[in-house]
């Protein structure tokens, strides 16, 4: 059963198409990573899915229903980001009770456990928490609510590495125990790579691609060797990224649709085959220019 279906979804802000005919769908009980550059419309997309803002055109279906103003979508989904606002008059301890009243699948023990594990004080207030603590608290709410659709929009902002690790582990463990559809929008693809099952890459408001993480890992390869060797080996394939070292050694990333034997012969020609980190790959795929930051300096 498809939890989310988007067809030709468009959203314009001040005459700028933040989302431009975006179409994709997300299966039930999968953890999907939503990847894209800053300001490419990830948050906008998520807010449309959560029913906070309206789509300009196109169609969005969450639980086969239009999310905007839908109570059904609201009770079965939760949107966690650092803008999550709680009434200032309610202390943290009570926010957990309030959340318990609202969410049917709320797990009080899990919430209390995480709450104490990250040493929160039930009497303190949400607006006085540090950035990292806020993200951690919001994450606890997101996890413990156990909504069939849980959306995390850059949940780890401000979290230190240890907390991030705990978060990923807690997320996975709870996901294994109670599988649900999770959307993780993040910039640290390298960290969350293992958590994800699918990756949805957004570029210029469109779906660049949507594939499983294992496919993504083998989607492209890195060629390292003398410049002409690398060039003729890649013979006309689109080079996603290139970098020059030393005199004439070059590193290029190309789509991996080489045949097996061809790959084995590569080293005979002095070209080294290297795996490409999926987070780097996403960076290359979504970069406007082909080169790296050095090009800026090299041009002068």
């Amino acid at each position: 059963m498809r939890v989310i279906e988007c067809t030709d979804l468009t959203k314009t802000y001040l005459r700028k198409n933040v989302l431009d005919k975006l179409s994709f769908s997300i299966e039930e009980n999968k953890i999907t990573g939503l990847i894209g550059r800053n300001g490419v419309g990830k948050t906008t997309l998520l807010k449309i899915i959560a029913g906070f803002i309206k789509e300009t055109s196109g169609q969005v279906k969450v639980f086969s229903e239009r999310p905007y103003n839908s109570l059904n979508v609201s009770i079965n989904s939760i949107f966690v980001d650092d803008q999550m606002s709680f009434p200032p008059a309610i202390p943290l301890g009570e926010i957990l009770t309030v959340a318990g009243n609202f969410y049917p699948n709320w797990d009080r023990e899990l919430a209390k456990g995480l709450f104490d594990y990250f040493s929160f004080d039930p009497k303190s207030y949400h607006n006085r928490l540090s950035k990292g603590k806020t993200s951690t608290f919001n994450m606890i709410i997101g996890l413990a609510s156990r909504c069939p659709l849980t959306i995390f929009d850059e949940p780890t902002t401000g979290m230190d590495a240890a907390v991030r690790k705990d978060f990923y582990r807690a997320l996975l463990k709870d996901y294994i125990a109670y599988p649900r559809t999770i959307i993780l929008s993040s910039h640290h693809l390298d960290e969350i790579e293992d958590l994800l099952e699918d990756v949805l890459l957004i570029k210029d408001g469109k779906k660049h691609f949507q594939m499983s993480i294992s496919e993504l890992k083998e989607w492209a390869i890195g060629l390292k060797g003398t410049t002409e060797e690398v060039l003729n080996f890649s013979d006309g394939k689109e080079i996603l990224f290139k970098e020059y070292f030393g005199l004439n050694t070059m590193y290029a990333v190309v789509k991996n649709d080489f045949s097996e034997p061809l790959l084995n012969k590569a080293h005979l020609v002095g070209v080294e085959i290297l795996p490409v980190q999926s987070s780097d790959l996403c960076v290359y795929l979504t970069s406007e220019t082909k080169g790296g930051i050095d090009d800026v300096f090299n041009k002068r």
Binding site: K47, F52, S70, L71, I75, V98, T181
Partner: protein
């Protein structure tokens, strides 16, 4: 994972209690305002001076009018405040849609009106006692019967609720576009000024006559309820179209 179905009123009920818990401080400001009003109405709410042959009389009238007036202002402000962005966003952190958010707001405003009115009317008694103790003049009073007191509370609730509906409507307009912050006052004083210059009776007087002078209780109730319904439905329809947590 199985989806849970939900019904509107169940959510409204939960949100209502959530709102009461979240906005409890509004009631402490209510107390503050009413005490302030008591202080002001210490010198009497109205006074009349008369003279006969060899005597002069001046009478000070005491009533809870000022306290009710201040409560009205408090209610108006509270109504506007809960339409602002932070308060609406609080709803959207949890389970809601725009309709349930508005309905729970209205229920909250009704509670605020009830609590505000009861305390305002009872504050009248507090005023009498304080005046008796501090001014040690003899206080003459029509001991209003229980029925009158209760009717007074009822009517005050209607008045306060009436004011909250206007506040809620204006608050929603302001949320719709910030322009209204300037537009509404300009419109309001503009008309007054215009009517004054044309020697026409200002519309405010007509409004006051329409509600304030209505002496048949039944008609008054109908008028207020209809107006309240109109303002709230208008506000709800605007809010329903409004994006949130942009």
């Amino acid at each position: 994972m199985s989806l849970t179905s939900v019904n509107l009123w169940e959510t409204v009920k939960k949100q209502y209690f959530f709102k009461l818990k979240a906005n409890i401080d509004a009631f402490s400001s209510l107390i503050g305002i009413q005490l302030l009003a008591l202080l002001f109405s210490f010198g009497g709410v109205g006074s009349v001076g008369m003279g006969g042959g060899n005597f002069s009389i001046n009478i000070k009238y005491y009533s809870a009018d000022l306290v009710i007036g201040f409560t009205l202002i408090w209610a108006f402000v509270t109504a506007i405040v809960i339409t602002t962005k932070p308060y609406r966003n609080h709803d959207f952190t949890f389970v809601t849609n725009r309709l349930s958010s508005s309905l729970s707001n209205i229920l909250y405003l009704l509670t605020a009106s009830i609590v505000g009115s009861i305390t305002a009317i009872l504050a009248g008694n507090l005023l009498k006692i304080l005046a008796h103790i501090l001014l040690d003049d003899q206080i003459y009073s029509f001991n209003t019967g229980l029925q009158e007191l209760v009717m007074g509370i009822g009517v005050t609730i209607l008045y306060v609720f009436f004011v909250t509906s206007i506040g809620y409507f204006i608050g929603t307009l302001v949320q719709e576009s910030k322009l209204f912050i300037i537009l509404i006052p300009v419109l309001f004083f503009g008309i007054l000024f215009l009517e004054a210059s044309m020697q026409k009776e200002p519309f405010l007087i007509n409004v006051f006559k329409f509600y304030g002078m209505e002496s048949t209780l039944f008609l008054f109730i109908i008028k207020v309820i209809v107006t309240v319904a109109v303002f709230f439905t208008a506000a709800i329809s605007i809010l329903n179209r409004m994006e949130v947590r942009r």
